[in-house]
């Protein structure tokens, strides 16, 4: 892992302690959090360790003089979890700012207490309550309702006022107007000693609207937290060499063009650079999708994000940060993302038109009743308020987030992270699925074919253990051995031991021509005086590949493979998967172009890929999916992230997306029907503000209940299918 030294992330936290924040991969439930905590608490020098299972983050306080942060990381990764320290710039998120629970609680408190007074008044009206007692109870309601509304409803009226100052009318405007008008009218009625006041409507309206807001916020917070965790994983480190000194570790962002860097074995190249060493072996699979390492000579350009799989080398930085090619791929991704964002703005535009409509009809109702029908001022006000309350588009506003929240929770439990509710909607519309090969359908690592001479393989493995080349690692994974001393590595060729044994390419070992006869990755091994022996490697497929392809077809989707790897390698995988449509040797630009062509034919394409070479295509697709092992940029660009190894979970995601879309459509139809029925009733003066508030909130509750059916529908379908 090319992570910066953990000590760079330590923050002093008083009492001589330092705190370290990390994101943790692989937490499936709270049980994992407890395991990690108790393991860390056993370490000497750990003052406290807290794992948040919801946000998948660890905060640990350590005494640096006793325990190094590396020990903390080692302890957690020994338990089998991935751990990535990150710079904690986000601590403000934990503050009360933006926390809607307190306004919600205050509104709930107000609703219950005002209701107590209101019920007393209603009961009193039917029996023998005198006007003085009634007015007293109205004033008691006012004393509770005014501060409660002033505080809790500020969630609505402050943003509404801010938007108004910028000349925009948001959905907060009619909501605020309804709440404040109800409150003002009730105060006026109470001062007149009238029979009816509507403080209960004002506070309960605030309460129910806040419930919707809190639900929406919880979903957003969860998904944005997941995205932040991903970004924490792509903070890189670099080793800078200055004037012949020892390499010094710095964050990759601190490099400047012209700096000379040292790239140790197995590290990612932190910036675009030119090779100054004689040669190097580079694995650029993450950037190009090519699964075999490339050999570079002095003066060749190096791309940030590629991994050094040969001996350590030095290079001169040519471009850093936003100037790198890697970053320009990310820029394409971002551009495509903003383009797609327009879909989501539709909802905002709807409320832009809807809010003035609501306010307009309320004012029309007010004017007609006051001037034409000749109702009293208070009666006309109450009708206008009823219109504002009953047309509050809470049900319409909740229709999507309620279902999306439910779906996101179901999927999270199944190991799938969904970034936003819109992604599910788009996934339900998909007609084609484009699959990347390396790292997506196959696992990133190679596997040794089992039909080998075990004795020879074990001997070769002692050489292989000294190298980071992916084939050598596959060999030493199959036959673990102690690394031999004095093995020399020739980038692009192979390894040679002191005794003269050679492990490497066909040419290097004298086995003949350079090309592999059957297109498989190969290593040759020769002991002095012996004949070269061949080891073949293949990339193992992820489980569930065939079922996934079949399942996609059964659901009427057309799967196709677009890969940057050689056509031979792609053909083999396509054949195993039972796929006839595939294309190899695609550059990132090819993938984007192909996707664009498919979109041009009116098809909705889901892109499933993991590499940086896929990032642009992922962002350009109608909806994008990445496995958890994906490169950081790909994960940031993806809408959906599959945490599990089994590909069949993609089918689950599609099923849930389709069911969700149906439920959302039901909800929207219901919300529209509700408004069509309730608006004329309110305009006709047949609803009091309280009844309107009850209608409005029960429509919201119905929409939420409908969303809860999602899990239930899925269970029944699973049982029957």
């Amino acid at each position: 892992m090319t992570a910066p030294a953990p000590s760079l992330f330590l923050r002093a936290s008083g009492d001589g302690l330092h705190s370290l924040n990390c994101t943790i991969e692989g937490i499936t439930c709270g049980r994992c959090a407890i395991t990690i905590e108790s393991e860390l608490n056993r370490l000497a020098g750990v003052a406290s360790a807290r794992v948040n299972a919801t946000t998948r983050r660890l905060q640990v306080e350590i005494d640096r003089t006793v325990t190094a942060p590396e020990q903390v990381l080692a302890a957690v990764s020994d338990l089998g979890y991935g751990i990535h320290p990150f710079a904690d710039d986000t601590s403000s998120r934990n503050s009360d700012e933006g926390n809607l629970l307190v306004p919600l609680a205050v509104a709930g408190f107000g609703t219950m207490n005002v209701m107590l007074f209101s019920v007393a008044v209603w009961a009193g009206l039917a029996s023998d309550m005198g006007p003085d007692t009634r007015t007293l109870l109205h004033w008691a309601s006012a004393v509770v309702a005014i501060p409660v509304v002033a505080y809790s409803a500020s969630v609505f009226y402050l943003p509404a006022a801010k938007a108004l100052r910028h000349g925009r009318v948001t959905m907060d405007a009619p909501i605020s107007l309804a709440i404040l008008a109800t409150l003002a009218a009730s105060l006026y009625e109470t001062a007149q000693g009238a029979e009816h006041a509507y403080f209960d409507a004002a506070v309960s309206l605030t309460f129910f609207l806040l419930v919707g807001r809190v639900l929406d916020r919880m979903l957003r917070k969860r998904s944005s937290g997941a995205a932040e965790n991903l970004r924490a994983m792509i903070q890189g480190r670099a080793f800078r060499i200055r004037a012949g000194n020892q390499p010094e570790e710095v964050l990759a962002t601190e490099l400047a063009p012209g700096d000379v860097i040292h790239v140790p074995v197995g590290e990612l190249i932190p910036a675009d650079a030119v090779l100054t060493a004689r040669s190097a072996a580079i694995d650029d699979s993450a950037v190009t999708g090519e699964s075999m390492p490339r050999t570079l000579r002095k003066g060749d350009p190096l791309m940030a994000g590629c991994r050094n799989v040969g001996p350590a080398f030095s290079a001169q930085v040519t471009a850093v940060g936003s100037e790198t090619r890697l970053s320009s791929i990310a820029d394409i991704a971002e551009a495509a993302e903003t383009h797609r964002g327009r879909h989501q703005l539709l909802a905002d535009r709807f409320s832009q038109g809807y809010a003035p409509l609501v306010i307009g009809s309320a004012m029309l109702g007010f004017a007609v009743w006051l001037l034409v029908v000749g109702a009293s001022l208070s009666q006309a006000t109450m009708i206008a308020v009823a219109v504002l309350v009953v047309t509050c588009p809470c049900a319409a506003g909740l229709a999507t987030p309620a279902v999306a929240a439910r779906a996101a929770n179901l999927l999270l439990a199944g190991g799938v992270i969904v970034r936003d509710g819109g992604a599910l909607e788009r996934l339900a519309e998909v007609t084609d699925v484009v699959l990347d090969k390396t790292g997506t359908l196959t696992r990133p690592e190679f596997v040794l074919d089992p039909d080998v001479n075990a004795k020879l393989a074990r001997r070769a493995s002692t050489l292989a253990a000294t190298s980071r080349h992916p084939l050598c690692r596959a060999l030493s994974a199959a036959y673990p051995a102690q690394p031999l001393d004095g093995v020399q590595e020739f980038p692009g060729l192979g390894l040679e031991a002191n005794g003269g044994e050679r492990l490497g390419s066909a040419v290097f070992t004298g086995a003949g021509s350079a090309a592999s006869p059957d297109g498989l990755a190969e290593l040759w091994f020769r002991v002095p005086g012996g004949r070269p022996a061949r080891f073949r490697f293949s990339q193992s497929l992820r489980p569930g590949l065939r079922n996934m392809v079949e399942g996609l077809r059964r659901r009427g989707l057309r799967p196709v493979i677009l890969s940057g790897d050689t056509p031979n390698a792609v053909a083999a995988v396509a054949c195993t998967a039972g796929l006839a449509t595939w294309q190899g040797g695609c550059s990132p630009e090819d993938k984007v172009a192909r996707l664009g062509a498919m979109t041009g034919e009116g098809r909705r394409v889901a892109m499933f890929g993991d590499g940086l070479n896929d990032a642009a295509a992922l962002a350009g697709a109608h909806v994008s999916i990445a496995p958890a092992s994906a490169a950081g940029a790909a994960q940031v660009a993806a809408d959906v992230i599959l945490l599990g190894k089994n590909l069949e979970s993609l089918l689950d995601v599609i099923d849930i997306a389709r069911t969700s879309r149906r439920l959302i459509a039901e909800n929207l139809v219901f919300a529209a029907a509700y408004n069509v029925v309730s608006l004329p009733l309110a305009l006709a003066g047949m609803l009091t503000p309280l009844v309107a508030a009850i209608l409005m909130s029960s429509s919201s509750i119905l929409v939420m209940l409908n969303a809860l059916r999602l899990g239930h529908l899925r269970e029944t379908r699973k049982a029957s299918g």
């Binding site: 439930c29 709270g30 049980r31 959090a33 407890i34 108790s38 406290s48 807290r50 794992v51 948040n52 299972a53 919801t54 946000t55 934990n94 009360d96 926390n99 629970l101 307190v102 609680a105 205050v106 408190f109 219950m112 207490n113 107590l116 007074f117 005198g130 007692t133 007293l136 109870l137 008691a140 509770v144």
Partner: protein, 50 residues
């Protein structure tokens, strides 16, 4: 009906105490990790958040 004059304040004071208790639970971040807490409650040596 004079009883209302102290019953109303009494009910409000009780409700405010409950509200205060809830606000304390929010401030002490007891809703930050519902997932972890449902397992943490089973731990014998659970340490409270500082």
């Amino acid at each position: 009906m004079t009883s209302l004059l102290y019953l109303i304040p009494a009910s409000l004071i009780l409700a405010i105490i409950a509200l205060g208790a809830f606000i304390w639970t929010v401030r002490s971040r007891q809703y930050d990790d519902p997932e972890g807490d449902r397992y943490r409650i089973l731990e014998d040596d659970d340490r409270p958040l500082r």
